[in-house]
């Protein structure tokens, strides 16, 4: 193989890799949603919002809502499937500082710590941007 042919084949390889990377990126649509959580008295509940069962990722990205007041958390959700599962798990906060005591790593851990049953939803890319969870207490 001559040097020109070698360059051509290298260029084609780079182009192919670039195109496949582009295709991979374009293949996972992302959409921004705003998550909020209340109890049956319509009071805000501090929660961790977990996308697709990634509890560690939710904690690392601080996907928490209603920790220092009534707000919502903005999350860019990747849709690698037509529906993505969302869990809204209540968290215990420090009464003095308002900071989360510890973040749960499962639904049962959240219920154990807060007595709230975690909410679940299967979200689609074209759903309304505001996602509200109404959490009920476990008796």
């Amino acid at each position: 193989m001559g040097p020109q042919a070698h360059h051509r084949s290298r260029r084609s390889l780079f182009a192919a890799v670039g195109l496949s990377l582009l295709a991979a990126c374009a293949g996972t649509p992302k959409r921004t949603f705003y998550f909020d959580a209340i109890d049956t008295e319509e009071k805000p509940v501090s929660c961790l919002v977990v996308i697709g069962d990634d509890w560690d990722g939710a904690a690392t990205a601080s996907q928490i809502v209603n920790v220092k007041g009534d707000d919502s958390v903005r999350i860019e959700v990747p849709f690698d499937a037509p529906e993505v599962s969302i869990i809204c798990a209540a968290i215990r906060t420090n009464a003095t500082t308002g900071e989360p005591d510890s973040l749960p790593t499962s639904r049962s851990e959240s219920t154990e710590a807060t007595k709230f049953v975690a909410g679940t939803r299967r979200l689609r890319v074209d759903d309304a941007p505001k996602v509200l969870f109404i959490l009920e207490r476990k008796y």
Binding site: Y34, D36, I38, T40, E41, E42, R124, D126, D127, A128, K130, V131, L132, I134, L135, E136, R137, Y139
Partner: protein, 101 residues
């Protein structure tokens, strides 16, 4: 000679076509107990009895929720198809919340 359709006729035909394809439905929603708050797509609509225009052109699914203190919260997901089917049998959407035990 070929005659072009009158512009007004074209506009009317266009609007009729859009109307036929539109997925906008006005529905009465009743929640029990009457103090129950009704939420649609995360937004509070009021309590007890509401009239709501579902716009499925904007979002193909609508999330209807109701809550009241002392009752279990309720969530339903509606599409243009499921709502049409429901309204062919019932005049409105009715949510009866179950009391907490």
């Amino acid at each position: 000679m070929n005659r072009l359709p009158h512009p007004r006729a074209t506009t009317l035909a266009g609007l009729a076509f859009l109307g036929a394809c539109s997925s906008v439905t006005e529905v009465g929603i009743v929640a029990q107990p009457k103090v129950a708050s009704i939420y649609i797509n995360g937004e509070k609509q009021g309590s007890g009895k509401r009239l709501y225009v579902f716009d499925f052109d904007k979002h193909p699914r609508a999330v209807l929720q109701a809550t009241a203190y002392g009752y279990r919260p309720h969530t339903e997901i509606w599409t243009a198809e499921t709502l049409d089917k429901h309204l062919s049998q019932f005049a409105k959407l009715e949510i009866i919340l179950e009391q907490e035990r």
